[in-house]
Symmetry: C2
């Protein structure tokens, strides 16, 4: 295990040399995890930093973490900051050997940077590139995907009239925990019209009722409806009443040994109407076109992949995709490369990213299909594998 | 509900006037929630901003949130940023009416600030003060505390030989979700020596075995031990073998309608030995001394409260408290006021904060007792109420 960190530190030091930096000041939690293996710092509050130079590597944190760091991060020297020994004390000690310091300008706050600059006059933006994964990292992401696949298979059986979005999200989480993983982000579960909101807040909407019903009113309504039309509700696909299939959009991911997966599936509860079916097919085809483009092109610009899928969706008369086509994934759910219109990145072997076209029609509903892929031998390998069929009809 | 946001915006505008700012640029998610009521933005990635001036209030976010924001935040004008319409477009539109802009220097990154400063030459640090809560906010925190109290009562019954820290944390979370709440942060569950690490990472340590056992080796060991000494293990308090009581430290909180609670309890599985008992009593007494100090003093400096408890612990020969004595709580688990050595804050009616003395002895164990309080009629009201007895012996 230590070899991995030695390699990463070596790479950083080569980077320092190229960029003519004497040291870097790392503040982002995912980079701290990447370089130390320690993943228990809060992502919402600042609890630690690293300073890495040619002949030094410090981890700066407080007394709450001292024992854990001494035990789990022996390859860094610990500077325990406290009210008596603020971080500035270390800055003072190092200011003579560090003339040019790299800082993570996309992570460090203005206030923190002011303090740093009091001691290190020249700072430059520094960005650690984690986009190309090692086989070991890919193995962990694959395991996270595998648990996600199982979770999807499990959750399909839980989608029933009367269940709420929140209940489905909770069942997903319980299942994933039972497999030893955890959610990599709060799941998005959207029923019916809610699926038109790409980042819908999973709530109390009840399946099988109008999307504005909440549990309290919904359950009463449900009993009444169920009594009136039990057969139609339990097997809507057989109905000839013209009742729409209900969209169920599930966007969730698993974290396994700090590495994330991410997947979206859109299923229909009941037989989809023509428009829903067409939206699904266009989204799926957009994903396929993006995949084919990558497989048939050398030196793939990620912005071009976005364009292929985006243009296809537009050509079918649907609204412009309101988000990027895809994103890299690893220690964070969203990291480089970005598959978006303004991205300058080239896709390379070892990268892991999502391709997730979507179509969202306000007050009607939305469809998103998201899978993760990695590039291997110049071809895409799909690593989320749950139900790769065109359209799932539950019950 | 809208009245609340009108008041908060009015307060901000008065603050602008006092500080001679033309507008503020809000980036922190908790402040966005505070001012809009919308709580679904990621805390790890930047998904939204607010700009508030005397005659304007914008919310800036992307197409993933458009529909939700239009519906749930009608009191703000929406600027939908995209690749075609970056945030800068709004900056350009506003640059003539905003000469001096407040920014959250403790939240905005260096890179973001650079972009802001391209358009607004003069920026000043701005900090929204949420430390004094309204009765409605306190009501929500109390409800979160109440669920936490019930969760503690429930979890005591689940603490059994053979259970892992992670299992206890999962059971706590399930219980809290069953009550309609959620964790306000990942719970810290620490068995035995692990409790000496104030922010221990809840793991696979098994109760009743050496703290370094993990499930795989642990369960086998457990069976052997249980066979050898079932009576002693199941009723250790009756044992005269001198076996130590096992420390179980539980630090967890509940989120209810976006408001957080936080509580730590240290219980003993089996009869505590004299040293454990003394640590518990000193921590409890330190908390009591802090409470008495607040109740008997006018214009309480929060740093002085920290000192009272800190000095008491030291006077008993224990190590210096390796963290602050307490912290404000509300939309975030940690917010103002801070009860710490360098704090300049004065405690006031309506504030809600923790008092959480702890004693941590490496390789032996730790005790922390944390309760939440609010100030009402110049006296502390304790709002976490679970098992206010000196020392709990489970089984």
């Amino acid at each position: 295990m230590w070899g991995m960190f030695v390699t990463r530190l070596k790479n950083i030091r080569e980077n320092l040399k190229e960029r003519k930096l004497d040291a870097v000041f790392i503040s982002s939690v995912s980079n701290i995890t990447y370089l130390t293996g320690y993943a228990n710092f809060s992502k919402e509050e600042r609890e630690a930093y690293l300073i890495i130079g040619n002949n030094l590597q410090y981890i700066i944190t407080d007394g709450r973490y001292t024992h854990a760091i001494k035990k789990q991060v022996p390859h860094f020297e610990l500077f325990e900051r406290s009210h008596q020994t603020p971080t500035e004390q270390l800055f003072k000690k190092l200011k003579n050997q560090i003339k040019i310091l790299g800082i993570e300008e996309d992570n460090l706050t203005v206030l923190e940077a002011k303090l740093v600059k009091k001691h290190f006059k020249t700072t430059k933006h520094f960005k650690l590139n984690r986009s190309i994964k090692t086989p070991d990292e890919i193995k962990k992401i694959k395991k996270a995907c595998k648990i996600g696949d199982l979770a999807f298979e499990y959750i399909l059986k839980q989608i029933k009239i009367g269940v709420t979005e929140k209940e489905i999200a909770n069942k997903l989480e319980d299942f994933i925990k039972g497999q030893g993983g955890e959610f990599s982000f709060p799941a998005i579960v959207a029923f019916g019209k809610n699926s038109a909101i790409p980042h819908h807040q999973t709530g109390q909407t009840v399946l099988g009722l109008s999307t504005h019903s909440t549990v309290a009113q919904g359950r009463t309504e449900l009993v009444e409806r169920a009594t009136r039309s039990a057969v139609r509700l339990s097997s809507p696909s057989k109905s000839r009443s013209g009742r729409e299939g209900l969209i169920v959009l599930l966007d969730f991911g698993v974290k396994w040994e700090n590495y994330c997966s991410d997947m979206t599936r859109t299923v229909f509860f009941g037989k989809p109407i023509r428009k829903q079916q067409e939206m699904y097919e266009v989204a799926l085809e957009a994903q396929k076109k993006a995949v084919d483009y990558i497989n048939s092109t050398k030196q793939v610009q990620s912005a071009d992949v976005d364009k292929v899928a985006r243009d296809y969706i537009k050509s079918k008369g649907y609204p412009n995709l309101p988000h990027s086509l895809g994103h890299g994934i690893g220690l964070e759910v969203h990291e480089h490369p970005s598959l978006s219109p303004k991205s300058k990145e080239v896709l390379k072997t070892g990268m892991v990213f999502s391709i997730e076209p979507g179509i969202y029609i306000p007050m009607f509903g939305g469809v998103r299909i998201e899978d993760l892929y990695t590039i291997r031998n110049e071809r895409l390998e799909q690593i989320t594998k749950a139900v790769p069929i065109a359209c799932t009809i539950v019950h």
